[in-house]
Symmetry: none
Subunit: 228 residues, 2 copies
């Protein structure tokens, strides 16, 4: 089955936004312009714009046009992804320690989570977040390299991965899984804990209209971290 025309147009529009060529509040082509450009009827061009508006990517105003919507920040659970904000808002100091940042091929778990074929190019980042001098979060993040090719060139001592992704992409949604786990050897080491140690572990996926952007495991020491 061939790709639907309205979907091609959606992807074109989304790419312009995701690549940064169209910043927030940028005016996007009108229904008629897209209809001419893609040689489709106005109803088909309209559907692409309308669905992106439904997904929160565009804002449309009668008589004015369609515009790139301001990129969303977080909802309640996503605050955990934005731990820097959490910490600084409490008046404490946040800093990070970069453990690794590298290109990998997706294994089975990551492929499933990111909806990619096995051995697809992904980036992996591991970072420890500190609240004052207390290690409070171990972040292990896989990113779809095709959707965010610039990820691996970032300086994650200056910006957190979550902030970086939020700035360049309109993240439309996220799903979360919360569980309690015993810290393994690496976690004990990076979070400077002594066994046995219960940790609160969140597994999150960030979405855009084009698919899953990142798959992240956030691990927190149980005695220093609660989710309200």
């Amino acid at each position: 089955m061939p790709a639907a025309k309205y979907n091609s147009i959606k992807q074109f529009l989304f790419n312009e936004i995701a690549s940064g060529r169209w910043p927030e509040h940028h005016r996007v082509p009108s229904e008629n312009e897209l209809a001419n450009q893609f040689q489709v009827s106005r109803m088909t061009a309209r559907r692409a714009l309308q669905e992106l508006a439904d997904e929160g990517v565009l804002l449309r105003t009668k008589g004015l046009g369609s515009f790139v919507a301001p990129f969303k920040s977080q909802s309640s659970l996503v605050q955990v992804q934005n731990i820097e904000h959490e910490i600084t808002q409490r008046g404490q100091r946040h800093h990070t320690e970069l453990i690794t940042l590298e290109s990998r091929e997706s294994d089975q778990e990551v492929s499933i989570a990111l909806s990619l074929p096995i051995a697809s190019p992904v980036f992996f980042a591991a970072i420890v977040h500190y609240q004052d001098d207390l290690p409070i979060q171990l972040e292990a993040r896989y990113v779809n390299a095709r959707l965010v090719p610039g990820f691996i060139e970032q300086d994650f001592s200056q910006i957190t991965p979550h902030d970086y992704l939020s700035k360049i992409l309109p993240l439309t949604e996220a799903d979360h899984l919360v569980e309690a786990v015993l810290a393994d050897r690496q976690t004990l080491h990076y979070l400077k804990l002594n066994p046995p140690q219960a940790c609160l572990q969140l597994t999150c996926r960030s979405w855009t209209a084009l698919g899953v952007v990142s798959y992240t495991r956030l691990t927190h020491p149980g005695q220093h971290f609660r989710l309200g």
Copy 2:
């Protein structure tokens, strides 16, 4: 401006469902049937069905038709309080073991949680919830005795505390705290675990307009319980 036709059709469909005349999985009229019935084009009838499907009210299958979607249960976190519902919905058997049900005087922690003076009359219930034969939740619940005097006379092998409270009171809200803890001796015993064991612990308070009704600690074995 007159009401949009597609909106009138949406409201008609929604009313049939909300009134109970069309139960879950009931087949709703097809696009062509609605188009005839309301004297509109198929595209307009289609829009009504499509938007209701986007909103999760209908499920549509090519070649089959459109059907009333199963009604949503409560939000994810509240499901935890209603673990019986969770378990039975997954097609597994739920039963409970009552450990204790007694009158107490509130200590400092409970007094603060229930907004009561110290040594106020409260009821305390401890219950183990089983999923099939696996202990999956240890419930420790304090209830404001003044607000729910009948609590202590209930048979909690027949009804869960949460169901009982939901039935006699309009619970307006609940707040939750999620943390990871190492199981203590009692928890290990009642949940039949071997140390060391990480547990996901939820602390919840249920409110009505009159004040805090109950203060509950729900403890789940980490390897058998996730929060989605």
